[in-house]
């Protein structure tokens, strides 16, 4: 237990939840288009409407800006000095502009509304797809990926993506459209001034690139320091009680100070550089404004090219409107890259190969009619394998008995390293088979093969004489009840947790299962009895109580074959003896594989298999093995074996 727990804690350490590595995206263009493809696939119409709305609101704002020129040149200047100025045409022009403005406001409203559905909808789909796909992945995926890293996809990556889709994306679109339209308007107004503006923008981009690079370097350092500080914090908080017991506080603080200071130094530099980007760009924008004002002033003063004062006024607004979106894009750049890095991890999970299932034999309820086994819709307590033969298009039924054979099975988690060698085993229906051996001997691995959490490399496993590869995985697993060493409970009530084994179980069935597992007594003493809420993997229960619930959960499922992997390891021996009665009841008539730490609990097994380094070294009943006076004898009695075996 402790071991796996620690592993989970270790997962997020350096490059998990807290210490995001510097975003480095292999192929940003491809990723971006894949992401956009995803968005457009479900929200194509929405997106088209959004683009139209953005164009409309940009047009409205451009029109508004141009209006300043018209206002001054076309209406106000001519009216100056008139005796009885006619405001009619001005009113008409303003009315015209109002229409445009109204259009702009409506477009902005519609766009914002649509983007909610696009953004949140995409995320919801992504989340669902992620989760359902994750559930379909083979156990291997979970065994080879740190849980913290998987979690960070849901928490960090989805979150950054949310920000990008709902904020950066529309802004990017808006900026792009604004830049294009403002550019055209500027060219129309004055080509030389446009050239000046472009020059200033080029300088701006150049400076931004420099500053981004400098801050990037420091960001790397910051992330690294953040990673090590957070890793340290996690380790120390987990071990805080040990620190107290050893009065080790001062040394702990000393190391903390060191890491904290290093983080501060790099975070300060990284932040300072990225902060500076803003004012530099703003002031460069202002300089651009000034330069344009002077040049434009000179041109307008000499009335070159028919450039008017009103034209200058409009141009200057465009100048500002031009550098603003470019500024925004450069500011958004980092967050877009960050989001793409997240998208990369999301897509990577989505691209993982799901568990394959070529099985076609299914498990059905059966009953006997006229000496023949037939399928039954209702629960009968009897099970049969439904075997469809493609060759002659017939279906046969074979009673499910629980006979499991291992035929010369080899297995390795990777092809290079075989961990189980030549396993030959036969569990007859109703037998209790115990697997004993040291950590890493391959006990749990064997049980992982029966339910096909992993597939074997060589040899055959047969279940009621059917190759388990031919059995549909869900049916295979439903026929096997598992109680694992690591009890995992779900957020929900005690009753719901027991019912997990059989979703349509009645309250009476739940209680019966709890009684069988000897869990009823303690459940009744919980504040809300069966309705007590369990949170955080049953953190409010003791390890032993959680194991009892897990046993009850297996009991209610009522499976023909049971796998008990250290199911009672955390229960004290006296309680275990009581639970054992329940367990024995549970096991009677079922084929059972038991992995146990305490040899006393397995000595009544029909067959005890002693494993060592992935090989079966001894097999037989308790008495037979004691008789042999070898490995098992040595373990059981603590005496040296009489003969030393190779």
């Amino acid at each position: 237990m402790a071991e796996t727990k620690v592993k989970e804690v270790k997962g997020p350490g350096v490059h998990g939840r807290h210490g995001m590595p510097r975003p480095k995206v292999e192929n940003p263009g491809k990723l971006f288009s894949r992401l956009m493809g995803y968005v457009f696939k479900f929200y194509g119409i929405h997106m088209v409407l959004v683009v139209i709305c953005i164009i409309l609101s940009v047009v409205a704002s451009v029109k508004g800006t141009l209006f300043t020129k018209t206002l001054i040149d076309g209406y106000i200047t001519p009216m100056i000095g008139q005796e009885n100025p006619d405001y009619g045409p001005l009113a008409a022009a303003i009315g015209n502009v109002i229409l445009f403005y109204a259009m702009g406001v409506i477009a902005a409203f519609v766009q914002a509304r649509l983007m909610i559905y696009v953004g949140q909808g995409t995320l919801r789909r992504l989340r669902e797809e992620l989760f359902t796909h994750m559930e379909s992945l083979p156990i291997k995926y979970f065994d080879t990926h740190a849980h913290g890293d998987i979690m960070s996809i849901y928490t960090n990556d989805i979150d950054t993506l949310r920000q990008m889709i709902s904020m950066s994306l529309p802004q990017l679109l808006n900026s792009a459209i604004t830049i294009v339209s403002v550019f055209i308007s500027m060219v129309v107004l004055s080509v030389p001034l446009t050239a000046v503006t472009i020059l200033m923008v080029a300088i701006m981009l150049f400076v931004s690139a420099k500053a981004t690079k400098a801050s990037g370097k420091n960001f790397v350092a910051q992330q690294k320091n953040l990673g090590s500080l957070n890793g340290y914090i996690e380790e120390m908080m987990t071990g805080q009680k040990v620190i107290k017991v050893f009065c080790h506080e001062d040394a702990t603080v000393e190391k903390f100070d060191e890491l904290n200071e290093a983080l501060y130094q790099s975070a300060f530099k990284a932040n300072a550089y990225s902060n500076i980007l803003g004012p530099i760009n703003t002031q460069l924008g202002n300089m651009s404004y000034v330069v344009c004002a002077i040049m434009g002033g000179a041109i307008a003063l000499n009335n070159y090219l028919g450039f008017t004062v009103g034209g200058l006024a409009s141009f200057l607004t465009f100048n500002k409107n031009f550098s603003m979106p470019i500024n925004q894009v450069s500011m958004q750049f980092n967050s877009i890259i960050m989001a793409l890095a997240g998208a990369e991890r999301i897509f990577k999970l989505l691209d993982e190969q799901s568990e394959t299932d070529d099985g076609y034999v299914t498990l059905v309820n059966s009953k006997e009619e006229n000496g023949q086994i037939v399928e039954s819709k209702e629960f009968t307590g009897q099970w049969a394998w439904k075997h469809y033969h493609k060759a002659d298009n017939t279906t046969t039924y074979q009673p499910m008995e629980g006979d499991v054979t291992f035929n010369d099975v080899d297995f390795g988690y990777t092809d290079e390293k075989i961990v189980l060698h030549n396993i030959v085993l036969h569990a007859k229906p109703g037998q209790k088979v115990a697997l004993v051996g040291s950590t890493g001997a391959g006990k749990t691995t064997i049980t992982n093969l029966i339910n096909r959490f992993y597939d074997i490399q060589d040899g055959k496993i047969r279940y009621d004489n059917i190759n388990i590869n031919k059995i549909k995985k869900p049916d295979l697993r439903r026929s096997l009840g598992m109680v694992l060493q690591d009890t995992h409970l779900f957020t929900g009530t005690v009753e719901e947790n027991i019912r997990y084994g059989k979703l349509d179980a009645t309250h009476e069935e739940v209680v019966a299962a709890a009684k069988l597992a000897n869990a009823h007594t303690f459940i009744k003493r919980l504040p809300d009895g069966y309705n007590t809420m369990l949170t955080g993997d049953g953190a409010n229960l003791s390890q032993g109580q959680r194991q009892l619930l897990a046993i009850a959960r297996a009991a209610i499922a009522n499976p023909p074959v049971l796998i008990l992997d250290e199911a009672t390891s955390s229960i004290d021996t006296r309680t275990e003896k009581i639970v054992q009665d329940g367990m024995d009841k549970l096991m009677s008539g079922r084929t059972t594989f038991v992995i146990a730490h305490r040899l006393s609990t397995v000595k009544n097994s029909d067959c005890i298999v002693v494993l060592e380094q992935g090989r079966i070294v001894e097999m037989g009943t308790h008495e037979e093995l004691l008789e042999k006076k070898q490995r098992y004898y040595q373990l059981y009695t603590g005496n040296k074996p009489e003969m030393v075996t190779a």
């Binding site: 071991e3 270790k10 609101s57 300043t68 206002l71 106000i76 009216m79 100056i80 009113a91 502009v97 406001v105 902005a108 409203f109 953004g119 949140q120 919801r124 669902e128 359902t132 994750m134 379909s136 156990i139 849980h147 957070n230 914090i233 380790e235 908080m237 805080q240 009680k241 107290k244 050893f246 009065c247 903390f256 200071e261 300060f268 932040n271 902060n275 004012p279 530099i280 703003t282 002031q283 404004y289 000034v290 330069v291 000179a298 307008a300 004062v309 006024a313 051996g437 950590t439 869900p474 598992m482 995992h488 084994g501 993997d537 390890q543 004290d572 006296r574 000595k603 059981y636 603590g638």
Partner: protein
């Protein structure tokens, strides 16, 4: 609370003050530019004075440079203040956590403390920087622009004033509604992520019970729920931008119409009107920014609250005023001890415990899951304080000792024991930083850890991974025992510390204890009868009470529980650990 937080600024007070000042400088620069612009248009162009245009242009460039300098200053000081503030907060919390008692730690949980030290501090750092740089800038920008507008034309400027007031009311209303919704959403969101976490770690259960479909449906319902709540919350927020736009446009139209009349009747110049229109954007943008700051502050208050909780938490165990600095011997006595983890809980964990343990005795404790064995021994080194009665070590109430002295003399090997990422040497020297290599090795040989350490390629310099994942359970336990032995304590407590050690080695360790450290009082909690049956006396715990206290033989005769446990384990050594051979 804000005051409490800010008191941790320390040496970063100056940059925290300089940042907004610099930001104001930047704002002033930005405000002056449109005015100068207006002059150029009016006097320069209107007066056909090229020299004036250039002069004013140069002034503008100077102003922009001033703005640049202030901006850089703001960026620099802002970064310094916020990252420094974060550093101080982390330090303050971490330091205080080191004073926490077990009860304090239980209250927050270690993962809770990690979140507070990491995520919450980051939130505060970001919010603080934002506030320093924007909170001053936005109002300053607005006020300056407003004043400028009033100087140009009070009549037109009043349009802005009305717009600002109306908009402010609308925004505040919307934001407070939105924050309420968002808070709800984020709570749900956390719950969703928790259920993902659950599925990741319990994937074997899900697959074994073929519950993928069931979990998918559960998740889909939750995801849909979140989606709907997010949409509802965002609908309010997205009203912001059209309302803003509408207000800006209305202002522009009003200024244009009224301004045109004023220009015609010579009350206003065209340049002045242009400046006014520029200020319009400035004022309303600042208002928008203010509303964002408002949201940031409300969002970060949750983090601030959680941080202050840690900083304010006072340890439940304090050192006495005149602490006793020496533990005389290893005798322990419990006098009518009651104990409950929660002061208000009805059901105490320990009830009226009376025990007398002589110095140098070896005591075994046995009892079922939840019979309060660990709770009993945790009181001895004052990891928790009793709620009633008293415990004496060396004849003196444990609450009168200096805690460090007490804990150095009462060495506990906790049930949930942990090694740290460091070499074996470094890990073991937690017990005694000044221990020589020989002393370390001796402790290891007492704990029967030397045999496997010496087999490791790097021996005592082997690096232990975080959580001790690269040693087996039994090896980890023996290392932890060695670490506790290095303290050379007067009392040694082993809380189920040899459960993963095989019987033979377990016996060897006990034998070594008896021979090598006979004067140390040893308390051994175990599940196995074999681990305790040779102890001088054995305590049988049942449901928070002492059910029996005596030698193996006595208990076998008189104590039913003990007999049952014994019988359940007899005939075999039963608990063999395969790892050791």
């Amino acid at each position: 609370m804000i005051k409490k937080m800010l008191s941790n600024l320390g040496e970063f007070k100056l940059p925290s003050i300089l940042t907004p000042i610099c930001m104001i400088g930047e704002v002033i620069a930005e405000m002056i530019i449109p005015i100068l612009m207006g002059y150029i248009v009016d006097k320069g162009i209107g007066g056909e004075d090229m020299g004036y245009i250039i002069r004013t242009g140069l002034i503008m460039i100077a102003v922009a440079l001033f703005g640049l300098l202030s901006g850089i200053g703001g960026a620099y000081f802002g970064a310094k203040a916020s990252t420094g503030f974060a550093r101080n907060l982390r330090k303050k919390m971490f330091d205080n956590i080191q004073t926490f008692s077990f009860a304090n730690i239980d209250k927050f949980s270690s993962s809770g403390l990690v979140t507070r030290l990491t995520t919450d501090v980051s939130n505060i750092q970001n919010a603080f920087q934002m506030i320093l740089r924007m909170a001053m800038r936005a109002p300053a920008s607005m006020i300056v622009a407003m004043i400028m507008s009033f100087i140009i034309s009070p009549r037109l400027a009043s349009i802005y004033l009305i717009a600002v007031i109306l908009l402010a009311i609308v925004i505040i209303f919307m934001m407070s509604l939105a924050t309420k919704y968002f808070r709800e959403v984020f709570e749900k969101y956390d719950a969703l992520n928790e259920s993902v976490q659950e599925n990741v770690s319990a994937i074997r259960v899900v697959k074994a019970y073929v519950r993928e479909e069931y979990e998918n449906n559960k998740f889909k319902t939750a995801a849909l729920n979140i989606y709907e709540m997010f949409v509802r919350a965002e609908k309010i927020v997205t009203l912001n931008s059209p309302i803003m736009m509408g207000t800006v446009y209305t202002c522009i139209i009003l200024i244009s119409w009224i301004g045109a009349h004023m220009i015609v009747s010579n009350e206003l110049t065209t340049g002045a009107m242009m400046s006014l229109l520029t200020y319009c954007m400035n004022i309303l943008m600042s208002l928008m920014m203010l509303s964002m700051i408002f949201v940031m502050i409300t969002m970060s208050t949750a983090s601030a609250k959680r941080i202050v909780e840690v900083i304010d938490e006072e340890t439940t165990l304090g050192n006495p005023v005149n602490p006793v600095m020496e533990v005389r011997d290893g005798s322990i006595s419990f006098e009518h001890v009651d104990f409950a983890y929660n002061q208000h809980s009805q059901e105490p964990v320990l009830k009226d415990i009376n025990l007398d343990i002589k110095s140098g005795e070896t005591i075994g404790i046995i009892g079922g899951t939840g019979s309060a064995k660990s709770s009993l021994v945790n009181l001895i080194s004052r990891l928790y304080d009793v709620t009633g009665g008293k415990i004496k070590v060396g004849g003196i109430d444990v609450r009168e000792y200096d805690m460090e002295v007490l804990r150095n003399q009462v060495s506990v090997v906790l049930q949930k024991n942990i090694l740290f990422s460091a070499t074996i040497y470094e890990n073991l020297r937690w017990g005694d930083p000044n221990a020589t290599d020989e002393e370390v090795k001796r402790a290891c040989s007492l704990a029967c850890a030397d045999e496997f350490i010496e087999k490791m390629p790097e021996g005592y310099d082997t690096y232990i991974e975080q959580g001790g994942t690269n040693v087996s359970g039994g090896q980890r336990q023996r290392l932890c025992i060695a670490r506790a032995l290095l303290k050379k304590p007067k009392i040694l407590i082993l809380d189920d510390s040899t459960s993963a050690v095989d019987t033979a080695t377990d016996a060897k360790i006990r034998k070594a204890f008896a021979e090598e450290i006979p004067d140390t009082t040893k308390i051994i909690i175990a599940q196995r009868i074999s681990s305790v049956q040779n102890c001088d006396r054995i305590i049988v715990m049942d449901d928070g009470k002492v059910n029996g206290f005596g030698t193996h033989q006595e208990l076998l005769k008189d104590n039913q529980i003990y007999r049952e446990v014994y019988e359940s384990q007899t005939g075999s050594s039963g608990d063999a650990d395969f790892d050791q051979k």
